[in-house]
């Protein structure tokens, strides 16, 4: 039984290898290799699935409004509130996740909150990443006084107590989506710029950069074609890890009343409202908090997974991959052993025991 199982596994591996060989003719790019490795990372794939579901739900929010007939900003004092004026629990009167403090559909509001949170997360990360890469590349490549000015400016931005400054800016400029995006983006480029600068400094010394210069390539061509592709891996990982930071930052500002203003829903201001009802309506606080927590967790796990998949050279990743493979194999053996009814859990390969 176990041997048969192993044989099947072996044949599969052979076929996979054959497929690999035939694919080899084209020459697999970095991205294809990364994707292949990432697909084998269960945690990252679960995280990615969760993110995709969240994004689809957010985009499809109006569809759910059409199904439930509960627009996000309409209160239902008759069906959506108890006699005492408290939120109704999940499943009541067509409110899938219950209602909020003013009798609005909590599920719909969480979806609309996701639209805001994810939009802010993606847009600020995109702006911050592009700005950070441009600044870091220019500082690192040109060096000298350009580098001095840009690097010191980057340090200055990083040294700011950004929550305090963000709060102050939100107060002065008045809270709005644009201000939130501008504030978060302003504080997210600096760390990326610093890392890109460091990478650029090291890549700049490679012989292929000198080769490009000896061919007559200009600085911007070299930056775009020879340096940038080598930076994409760390930048992509950083960007993935920045999205949850931006999401949390937005939630923080909204929670403090300086972000998205009611009645527009955002995870932060839903949570701020929910505070008043936590004793009578657990769902009011649990569901939006879970949405926030799981989304940021998923992005972080995906970022880690991408980092592991990107760079097979680092010792840590190698070890992790090997251990993961070993663990998986051992798990399979255990289930095989259990199927045999032995009930023994041992690390001895089943092929040897039978």
């Amino acid at each position: 039984m176990s041997i048969g199982g192993l044989e099947v596994e072996g044949r599969e591996a052979l076929e996979a290898e054959a497929a690999l060989d035939s694919a080899n003719v084209e020459g697999r790019s970095q991205w294809q290799l990364t994707w292949r490795r990432l697909r084998r990372d269960k945690v990252a794939m679960i995280a990615l699935t969760f993110i995709v579901i969240m994004v689809v739900l957010a985009i499809a929010a109006p569809v759910f409004v059409a199904i439930t007939h509960h627009p996000p900003n309409i209160a239902y004092p008759n069906t959506g509130e108890t006699a005492a004026g408290n939120p109704v629990p999940p499943g009541t009167a067509g409110f899938w996740l219950g209602t909020d403090g003013t009798g609005r559909d909590l599920f719909i509001r969480i979806l609309y909150g996701a639209r805001i949170s994810l939009f802010v997360g993606f847009v600020t990360t995109a702006i911050g990443t592009v700005a950070g890469v441009v600044v870091g590349l220019i500082a690192g490549y040109f060096g000298g006084i350009v580098d001095n000015v840009l690097a010191r400016f980057t340090d200055a931005v990083l040294a700011f107590p950004y929550v305090v400054l963000a709060l102050a800016l939100a107060v002065v400029l008045g809270p709005s989506l644009q201000v939130i995006i501008a504030v978060i983006a302003f504080f997210s480029w600096a760390a990326i710029a610093r890392i890109v600068r460091g990478q650029t400094l090291s890549i700049k010394e490679k012989e292929y950069i000198e080769a490009a210069r000896s061919l007559g390539a200009g600085p911007f061509r070299i930056m775009a074609l020879d340096i940038l592709p080598n930076l994409l891996a760390p930048v992509l990982v950083l960007a993935t890890l920045y999205i949850p930071t931006a999401v949390v930052f937005e939630a923080t500002l909204s929670y403090l009343g300086l972000g998205i203003q009611p009645p527009t829903a955002s995870w932060g201001n839903i949570l701020a409202d929910a505070e008043n009802f936590y004793q009578v309506a657990w769902w009011y606080i649990v569901f939006p908090a879970a949405a926030l927590l799981l989304t940021t967790l998923a992005f972080n796990l995906l970022g880690d997974g991408i980092r592991d998949a990107m760079d097979p050279r680092t010792e840590r990743v190698f070890a992790a991959g090997r251990n993961r493979g070993r663990r998986r194999r051992r798990g399979k053996r255990q289930t095989l052993a259990d199927a045999d009814g032995s009930g023994l859990v041992s690390s001895v390969p089943p092929a040897g025991s039978s």
């Binding site: 020459g27 292929y208 000198e210 080769a211 490009a212 000896s214 061919l215 007559g216 074609l225």
Partner: protein, 355 residues
């Protein structure tokens, strides 16, 4: 070098492609945190003059740190020159701006030492070899692809591997990619910076033969840098020996190898391993003591004098000029006050023999 600044190593009548005159390259040594100040100069190349006749190969040998690569980069226009002049095909190309240098880039190409770091790992081979065409806008689209595949075939690569990444090639194949890239624009001069020192011996010969074939077919001129004397002897027409940023001896290959005049050249040749055990047994081995001095603070007089078995008082005081020594051909120049004479035993000159 006031007496004859021009043209050591060749006859004046030759068709000279590259002429280097009194080239100096110092790198400033800086210290201090916020306010940087120059505390010294690395004298990487100090007053070097050379010329390379069209269609020939000049071999440049020397230890690590002797300034070979710096000299090559100055000739290629990759780093600014401190002083001196580089003339290419009759044009002064010293310290040209990037824009002014652009047309000359097509004529001067480089092959680099490390076949691993000289190819961008993120780009496909077709894109790497096609880069010269793209930069100089000489071919696009299908024409570029065809040109690249022809080049790949010419250097012995399978043109079907156009879409592969450098990581999928062996060291020798990668060096062929580097050769193809250097060859793309049909340059006149190719500067080979230790092109085979990172390769296996069996692969070295293949790449050297490829370079020789290309020279014959396209009339290329090579500036060939190496620290392997056998390799230099194999490929060069004339040879220049560098020590601490200066040229110690330069001349046609055969006389220089057969009867070196500079003690440093003699020591280098005596240290090279030979394939013939009888030859090894019969020859004298000159053992140099000490390390190469720092190029920040080079020795006075002749830079080789602290390690030279023949050094005398004069060597520490006066710098020897690169000149023709008695009995040598006109193109064979040596910078030494006391050149090695035929049959002289240098091994016992300075220090007692070991064992």
């Amino acid at each position: 070098m006031s007496a004859s600044p021009v043209n050591p190593g060749t006859d004046a009548g030759d068709d000279v492609l590259v002429r280097v005159e009194n080239l100096v390259k110092y790198f400033p040594v800086r210290a201090g945190g916020l306010v940087r100040r120059t505390v010294g100069q690395v004298q990487a190349v100090d007053d070097v003059s050379l010329s390379i006749p069209r269609g020939t190969t000049l071999g440049l040998v020397g230890e690590t740190g002797s300034g070979k690569s710096t000299l090559a980069r100055c000739v290629a226009g990759l780093i600014p020159v401190t002083s001196g002049r580089v003339t290419f095909d009759g044009r002064d190309i010293t310290n040209l701006s990037r824009r002014a240098m652009r047309p000359i880039r097509r004529e001067i190409q480089m092959i680099f030492q490390d076949p691993y770091s000289s190819l961008n790992p993120r780009r496909r081979v077709g894109s790497i070899i096609g880069d010269p065409f793209a930069i100089h806008k000489t071919a696009t689209g299908a024409a570029r692809k065809q040109a690249v595949q022809e080049l790949m075939e010419r250097v012995g690569l399978n043109p079907e591997h156009y879409n592969r990444f450098p990581a999928e090639f062996s060291g020798g194949q990668r060096q062929r990619i580097g050769v193809a890239r250097a060859l793309a624009l049909r340059p006149q001069l190719i500067i080979c910076d230790e092109p085979v020192s990172a390769l296996d011996v069996s692969i070295q010969a293949q790449v050297l033969n490829l370079l020789a074939d290309l020279q014959r077919d396209y009339g290329l001129t090579y500036l060939f840098i190496a620290h392997n004397l056998d390799v230099v002897r194999h490929v060069s027409d004339s040879v220049a020996v560098m020590y601490l940023g200066r040229i110690g001896e330069v001349g046609p290959k055969e006389p220089l190898y057969r009867a070196p005049r500079h003690p440093y050249t003699a020591a280098l040749l005596s240290a090279a391993p030979a394939a013939d055990p009888d030859a090894v047994a019969s020859r004298q081995r000159i053992i140099l003591t000490g390390d190469v001095p720092s190029p920040i603070d080079p020795p006075s007089g002749c830079r080789f004098h602290p390690r030279c078995p023949k050094a005398q008082q004069l060597c520490a005081q006066t710098e020897p000029q690169l000149e023709v020594k008695a009995g040598d051909a006109a193109a064979h120049l040596t910078a030494c006050h006391f050149p090695v004479e035929a049959g002289e035993n240098l091994a016992t000159a300075g220090r007692s023999e070991l064992s």
